[in-house]
């Protein structure tokens, strides 16, 4: 598994540099949504890595090595989770440093980043099975549909919220509801991993 993550790290090294720059820039920009965008962007790392894998036929080579289908799949989910965690932490750290020199409030920012992280988890959970089922090219169509529906729904709900103000990706929610949403997203990811392993195991290389 470490080898697979290291391979993705090397493969994505150029994208990761741009990713770091994005987080730094977005975290320093006024308003919450740009930082959320950087965190959500991290959830796209597995799809980018899969796209590189598909281009060089890495899976054909990996099928000859001691990696199991479960390891192949879980490594991509881990890549996304690590990316989201790293982006969230970095965005918060940069914002904290930025806050020392400005009057930007911290509380709303933390909930915005948390909302972004949950959205990222949702994207990973919803899109990766499609990638493993249809491949990256065809899966990308499913990916955009899922992304549009998910964020359309979030935007719609936020418009219907009390004051229509976007916070924590739009929804003024209590801590209890937030935990329930997080649990639901975790469960979705668990089911998503199992489904992806099933799809990957059926593939031939």
């Amino acid at each position: 598994m470490k080898g697979l993550l290291l391979k993705d790290f090397f493969t994505l090294s150029k994208s990761l540099r741009m990713f770091l720059l994005l987080i730094l820039v977005f975290a320093c920009m006024p308003g919450y949504n740009m930082a959320i965008f950087a965190v959500v962007y991290a959830s796209l790392l597995p799809v980018t890595a899969l796209s590189y894998d598909e281009r060089c036929k890495w899976d054909t080579l990996a099928a000859m090595s001691p990696y199991s289908p479960a390891e192949m799949v879980i490594s991509k989910y881990l890549l996304g989770y690590i990316g989201i965690l790293f982006a969230s932490m970095l965005a918060l750290a940069v914002h904290a440093v930025y806050g020392l020199f400005s009057s930007s409030p911290a509380g709303g920012y933390v909930s915005s980043i948390a909302g972004g992280a949950v959205s990222g988890l949702l994207i990973i959970g919803l899109t990766l099975p499609a990638m493993y089922k249809f491949g990256v090219e065809k899966g990308r169509i499913a990916f955009f549909v899922i992304l549009a529906v998910t964020f359309g729904a979030v935007a719609g709900l936020s418009a219907l919220s009390d004051n229509g103000k976007l916070s924590g990706f739009g929804l003024d929610i209590g801590a209890g509801t937030g935990i329930l949403i997080l649990l639901a997203v975790i469960l979705l990811n668990a089911a998503s991993i199992l489904l992806s392993i099933k799809f990957y195991s059926k593939r031939e290389f």
């Binding site: 060089c56 099928a63 001691p66």
Partner: protein
């Protein structure tokens, strides 16, 4: 003991059938899998490695059924080189070594460095900028650096210039100096197989036409070059295949079934394969 045992292997694709493939790779030997492009060599190798599902038959590798969960760990002992190297384009040889160190439990970093140096491969150059020869050398270096007992090479020498091919063939010869090391080498370059193989398995249009010791094949078969009208003088049961041209005919024959008085010439593996592929019996 056999390093590979294949029995009645079958795989069907739309428009292609690999059927009834059975052969053994005895430990300590090199089996050459020969056949035209699309004959089923790569399919056979992928079936051996359980990278595709078989429709029938059985495969045992190093004593383990390849559908047994234990086969996954056994892949640590199998070095595979495919027809292309398939490493990510941005990785350098050093990066590939670091990835493989976490992939194979017996990764030998010193041996990997030695092979990189022996093959004159650059440490830092991105894989995308490698020539075809360099890519295949890197794949071979990786396959040899996790201390495999079995090497499976699918067209590993195709597309390489003759000098590089010669180097690579030497590496394979060195590998089999250990008596429990075995190689399955697929190629359509028969001259490479003739140099190093102990056995030849010939697959043609998805069927195994022969599996024989190479030296025995070369002893068993001979070529008669003669005017077309003299073909009838050869015993019918001795003739394996016939080629007719403007200046006469050539017949591949079973040497022992032809009278010693008949002028026969020593044949090559390539001639045997060509005669058999073109409708020999």
């Amino acid at each position: 003991m056999n390093a590979i045992e294949i029995r009645n292997l079958r795989k069907e694709y739309p428009g292609f059938l690999l059927d009834d493939i059975s052969f053994d790779l005895p430990c300590g030997s090199i089996v050459g899998l020969v056949g035209e492009n699309g004959a089923g060599k790569s399919t056979t190798i992928k079936l051996i490695m359980n990278a595709i599902r078989k429709d029938g038959g059985s495969v045992k590798v190093l004593g383990t059924d390849n559908e047994d969960p234990a086969f996954l760990k056994l892949k640590n002992d199998i070095g595979v080189v495919l027809d292309d190297a398939y490493f990510p384009e941005t990785l350098s040889a050093v990066n590939v070594g670091k990835v493989m160190a976490y992939t194979y439990r017996s990764w030998d970093a010193a041996e990997y460095r030695r092979l990189l140096s022996w093959f004159s491969l650059p440490d830092k150059k991105a894989f995308a900028d490698y020539s075809r020869g360099m890519k295949m050398k890197l794949a071979i270096a990786v396959a040899l650096s996790h201390r495999p007992r079995l090497l499976i090479l699918d067209e590993a020498t195709s597309g390489l210039d003759p000098m590089v091919r010669d180097e690579v063939v030497d590496v394979f010869n060195d590998f089999t100096r250990e008596e429990d090391h075995s190689i399955l080498l697929s190629s359509h370059i028969v001259s490479d197989l003739e140099k190093i193989c102990d056995y030849i398995a010939f697959i043609h249009k998805g069927r195994l036409l022969l599996m024989e010791e190479k030296d025995r094949l070369l002893e068993e078969y001979a070529v008669a070059r003669l005017p077309e009208e003299q073909l009838a003088d050869l015993p019918e049961e001795a003739v394996v295949g016939v080629k007719k041209g403007a200046y006469g005919a050539e017949a591949l024959v079973r040497r022992e079934l032809v009278s010693p008085s008949f002028p026969l010439e020593r044949t090559t593996l390539e001639e045997i394969i060509l005669f058999l592929a073109k409708g020999g019996r």
